[in-house]
Symmetry: C2
Subunit: 292 residues, 2 copies
């Protein structure tokens, strides 16, 4: 399907995409670039990429598909580095967890060439980062959101859909604005809450003793608190308006729970818990939904 | 080891204890009682108990080990129902997630007989309740906290330690006060946060659409939001002072994160996230610790 995949940012996401395309036989050769030469070298040693590029631009040269898998705040600099080789016919995608900022950067930098860029967000990840954790199955069974611009070439949207589908992902399309509002609610805020919660436990005088007693509920609730600081710094910062809105909603719900607990209103407390509990029990990840 | 186990409250916790003791060959016969006769009947049909008792008192009669596995708010009524058969030589335990209230109720009701009661909290559970989910392995590899009173018979503390150890649990001892402070931090508050967070998502106009996009991070973060409403109503209510203290600490940590996000202080945000992330990455459930 493709001759050469260029991966800019040889980390968990970029490396997993390369492995998935190789396993599916969708690409002949993978060329990779990372800011740190030792990372690029390691990616080559691990067989995730075949050729190490010395610049982002060289990773694009000769590629017919390019994945930009850098922290979202590095998107603009990456677009600048590669813009002279961005042309129609080559599929450019990213994997950023926020989309408005990436789309804005693409518009600013790529200008009339922006049609070659198909913004993408695969809903997949691990709490361990880095090329050494790359996994050909990371995207299997996961949703991938595309947020194309009005200028995005229809043919490239189709190609993007095909390549993600071919590695087992379910593709959805929405606007960057709707994407960022939704993921502030179901991903960005939970990360912020998990970071805040873990900090609050660790910082107390008896925190270490407390942690030695924690069980499986705690383990699962805090798993995302171990997420990559650079990645999440950028996500929370770039989507801060929506994240703060969601945090406000959360605080209202916490206020309500605290209020009934403090006032000793047993029935009201049970009612609030039951609504949340029933709703969560009825939720399923990737619930089938009508296509759009 | 024991002739007859009496289980009061044939739910997930009580049923799992019965199955574990049977599997380990630690008990000849299990007699069970639940407030709802249909539950007791189901426990018998499932082979979790051998004999259905018509009252809590009858479940104690002839038993040399008794597990009280009712929602914590029902502890006092249960002690009242059985007090005439509480005597030294019989091991009485509960499984409540809060200990000060249960210990207080035991003192009030059992008076000079309170020495037969060994308060216990196994750090185990599932987000699905009920006898049909009882599991002989629920307590394997889990910690069990005993919070004995000054009056608790040393011989019964030893018996309690032996029986939990025999089914694969690790036994720790602490005061009821330390127990409740620790579990407010690592268990009760996370449940309250998960209930609040799930409510806040569900209640928004686009909540359903948002939920269809949620991924594995969300799934794990919200797993405990599906927990049993009756059980958690009682836990949050009975340990409310400690829970509200912990919630206050959490709010301070969330304030700090929101502040740096709002003010655009990228370095400070990364620093806060990194501290939480490193601490969580270094945490392990049931990390080996010096015995006490």
């Amino acid at each position: 399907m493709f001759t050469q995949l260029g991966v800019i940012g040889c980390g968990l996401m970029g490396g997993s995409f390369a492995l998935a395309l190789k396993r599916a036989g969708l690409v002949k050769r993978v060329i990779g670039y990372s800011k740190s030469p030792s990372t690029t070298e390691r990616a080559k040693k691990l067989g995730v990429i075949d050729v190490a590029a010395e610049s982002a631009l060289l990773a694009v040269s000769g590629s017919d598909i390019v994945l930009i898998a850098v922290p979202v705040a590095a998107s603009e600099a990456t677009f600048k580095a590669i813009r002279h080789l961005v042309e129609p016919g080559v599929l450019f995608m990213d994997v950023g967890s926020t989309k408005r900022d990436v789309v804005d950067a693409a518009r600013r930098v790529l200008k009339e060439r922006v049609g070659a860029f198909v913004p993408a967000h695969p809903i997949a990840g691990k709490e361990v980062a880095g090329i050494q954790n790359a996994d050909a199955s990371l995207y299997t069974g996961r949703q991938v959101i595309l947020t194309p611009l009005p200028q995005t070439t229809a043919e490239l949207i189709q190609k993007a859909t095909d390549v993600w589908s071919a590695i087992g992902s379910h593709v959805l399309k929405m606007t960057p604005e709707n994407h960022d509002a939704a993921f502030a609610a179901v991903s960005h805020l939970p990360h912020m809450l998990a970071f805040a919660y873990f900090s609050s436990v660790v910082k107390q005088p008896a925190g270490k003793d407390f942690l030695s007693l924690a069980g499986p509920g705690f383990r699962d609730f805090t798993r995302i608190a171990a997420s990559d600081p650079t990645v999440w710094r950028d996500i929370l910062m770039s989507n801060r308006e929506e994240v703060l809105k969601q945090s406000q909603r959360f605080r209202h719900a916490l206020d309500a729970l605290e209020h009934v607990v403090r006032s000793g209103n047993v029935e009201a407390l049970e009612d609030l818990i039951r609504k949340a509990s029933d709703a969560r029990a009825g939720w399923q990840m990737n619930a089938p939904k009508s296509s759009r």
